[in-house]
Assembly symmetry: C2
């Protein structure tokens, strides 16, 4: 993308309404624009990151054997009366009537609707296991929306629902979700720690939240700090292998890690003092096993191998897709701006032309732009007629992890400069070598 | 995808509520489930086609130089008061109040919001031309929603908005949209004819609708039938070249083609009788040039090269993304089911194992499945323990354009069968040749 033809409305001033760094930088980098309290437009740069995050979530869910579909944003109140939640749900639920005076709502979650889909079409254990998920906009009418996309009212969420014939199979589904979530967050450059949590209004026996440590987090968390160095890495997971998947879950949940809701000081005190930590955390996902709560209420059952009819065992599992942008920025920024992890960056690399109009510099930039494109990498090329300082400031603010700087002086020696946004370190090399290096960095992503 | 692990709830019976073939087949093929009047869940197979259509729309918009972003589904009533449309818009607009009693609405279209984004960030002609678009769920509270996704209440639409410094530039944007739409529809296997139309409630000077001929269409259309053989084909379009783009538009809009709203019988009668046709059509898109209607009302202006301040010239341009699934099926089906064009099919090819449990058949199917995957083609492999007739009926109903049939008898001679859904013709060949043929068919898509 050539910046001269893009829509990247960066702000020079810090917006007064933004209290936390991710909100501030998302506004300043021209990623979002508020349209009403807690409701945002995703401007082109923000939209690119949102799509990238969505794509990673899809890939890891599909890898785990889960099946995407898409439920609508609006739901009928009748479904929620069946589960008893229409009256139980608080004023966060946006309710209204359509032109025929039928009671409707903007879905804050989808347990009822997915159970309705299941019971309409599945009646045999032979069609199980089944996990269906979607990524769709939700609405929760927060009393005081704040912190930008971290606590918005209209937000994008991945929510998945497993249907299993018995408790063991449902626990395996729960574990599958935990492992697929770990991989999802790691690909985004995040350390998200699964912590034993409270079940809240969805109800459930077993639940973990995934928390990213950040000083602006809304939850207080207590943990053994050895948990922060656990990594899934590139290990091969067979999601059909119950023992292997359970083993990974055990590895990630044995060390103490809890939110204040489930914190147990006596157990915590037994951790060696050097490893005993408390901090703030941002919740970026949650998994629940809740058994037959909805299938009982809504009559979703299957016939088992021995001919008996049992309510299906369920769980629900969510990732806060739009909120993740805020969480990633909270965890990865400096005083100049955002520092995107390679996994989610809106553009893999920026090209800064130090002297637009200089024929060698223009030609070298064009050459880099096309050579990168030929390798499947869309650079953001700052081809504007601006001074170098302004171009660097924009690149630093929007946080592309790599920058290639092209100027007449370097080109006279046959080199351009490749700079890491994270370390600030620069290295001179030929344009060809810079393209190869960037391609290598992004290989396999 | 292995069918034994997929969620494809096909129906044997024709659903009573479906009056037109696309609605009937989408329900029977397990593509959608109604959740309320005019509101649907997109089950896995339907969701795949929806995503594919979305992807083609994105690719062609980006190719034309248009920039994607994403506006929220909910909007504040205040914006619509500025344009005067809050009161003017009928009961199709879903209005409600949030918990703080603020008036909100579910966006039926986005002229106001995009103008708001523009005026907040752009003030100079140097930032033009600019075309921003999104693909987002809309809601229009139709009095009598019907025909499935063809006339739903919650529907997915691509809507794009151009901002230009003068009328000539805005007409070029209009033309760019026309050409990019032609290519979009052609890639979906559709003949969509641009027809001069009425501007309706958005208001505008110049507007064309794109209509797909189908007996179930809601509009009566009148045309010179030579217009149906025009094709954009593979020709190279430079979207910055005003003359070239205008020439293509002229080619596609010179022959008579109008809806009943703009029909002129006297002009129509001058067409040679052999070419004079009237038929029914389904509207799948519309482009508008409306000048300064919204920029005047909402104060969106730019400073020009000579220092004067002028209201920006605008247009809006829409494609009915979810509706396209219905239109494609109306245009491409037979008595056995859907016939997907290669450009939008949910899976490129199906594999039918005639004898599950036969080791040669099982191994051959696995081999085909993996060889296709290695070429980037995800087959739908019917590995269920069902009789052949049921498997063929399912494949015909869901309409994959190609099917590979694998059985012990053919394998004894080293062959499998490749069948075209459209022609019904089959050809025997080695499994390797079948993979190569399918890869060839989909090359470059």
């Amino acid at each position: 993308m050539r910046l001269s033809r893009y829509f990247l409305p960066v702000l020079k001033e810090n917006p007064a309404e933004a209290q936390i760094v991710s909100h501030r930088y998302m506004l300043r980098a021209g990623m979002i624009k508020q349209q009403a309290a807690g409701i945002y437009s995703w401007l082109p740069l923000g939209y690119r990151v949102l799509k990238r995050i969505e794509e990673i979530v899809h890939q890891e869910q599909i890898r785990a054997g889960h099946i995407p579909l898409l439920m609508p944003t609006l739901q009928s109140a009748d479904l929620w009366r069946e589960s008893g939640r229409y009256d139980a749900y608080g004023p966060e639920m946006l309710r209204f009537k359509d032109r025929h005076d039928r009671e409707m709502l903007f879905g804050p979650t989808n347990e009822e609707m997915i159970t309705d889909i299941f019971r309409a079409h599945v009646s045999s254990y032979k069609d199980l296991p089944l996990t269906l998920y979607h990524i769709q906009w939700k609405f929760r009418d927060e009393m005081r929306p704040r912190f930008g996309v971290m606590r918005g009212r209209e937000f994008l969420m991945k929510d998945g629902y497993n249907f299993d014939v018995d408790r063991d199979a449902a626990i395996h589904a729960y574990n599958r979700h935990m492992v697929s979530y770990l991989r999802t967050y790691e690909r985004m450059g995040l350390t998200a720690i699964p912590m034993r949590a409270d079940s809240g209004p969805i109800g459930g026996e077993d639940t973990h939240e995934f928390l990213v440590l950040a000083s602006t987090g809304e939850s207080e968390v207590f943990y053994d700090d050895r948990v922060t160095s656990l990594r899934l890495g590139q290990r091969d997971i067979d999601y059909d292998n119950r023992a292997q998947v359970a083993e990974v879950c055990k590895e990630f949940t044995t060390l103490y890690a809890r939110t204040d809701e489930t914190h147990d000081q006596a157990v915590f005190d037994q951790i060696p003092e050097a490893h005993r930590k408390s901090a703030r955390g941002i919740e970026v996902g949650q998994i629940f096993y809740f058994g037959t709560k909805y299938s009982d209420a809504m009559g979703a059952s299957v016939v088992t191998a021995d001919g008996s009819k049992v309510p299906v065992e369920m769980g629900s599992h969510g990732i806060g897709v739009s909120r993740l942008l805020g969480a990633i920025i909270e965890a990865s920024h400096d005083e100049k701006g955002i520092i995107w992890p390679e996994g989610v960056t809106p553009f893999p690399v920026g090209i800064v032309n130090l002297k637009r109009g200089d024929s060698a510099a223009d030609a070298a930039c064009e050459g880099l732009y096309k050579a990168l494109a030929a390798k499947g990498l869309e650079a953001l090329y700052d081809d504007r007629d601006e001074r170098a300082g302004a171009k660097f400031a924009t690149m630093d603010l929007i946080g592309l992890p790599w920058r290639i700087t092209v100027g007449p002086r370097g080109l006279a020696n046959g080199v351009v400069e490749l700079t890491s946004r994270r370390t600030g370190e620069s290295e001179e090399m030929s344009p060809e070598a810079a393209v190869d290096r960037v391609a290598q960095i992004y290989a396999g992503r």
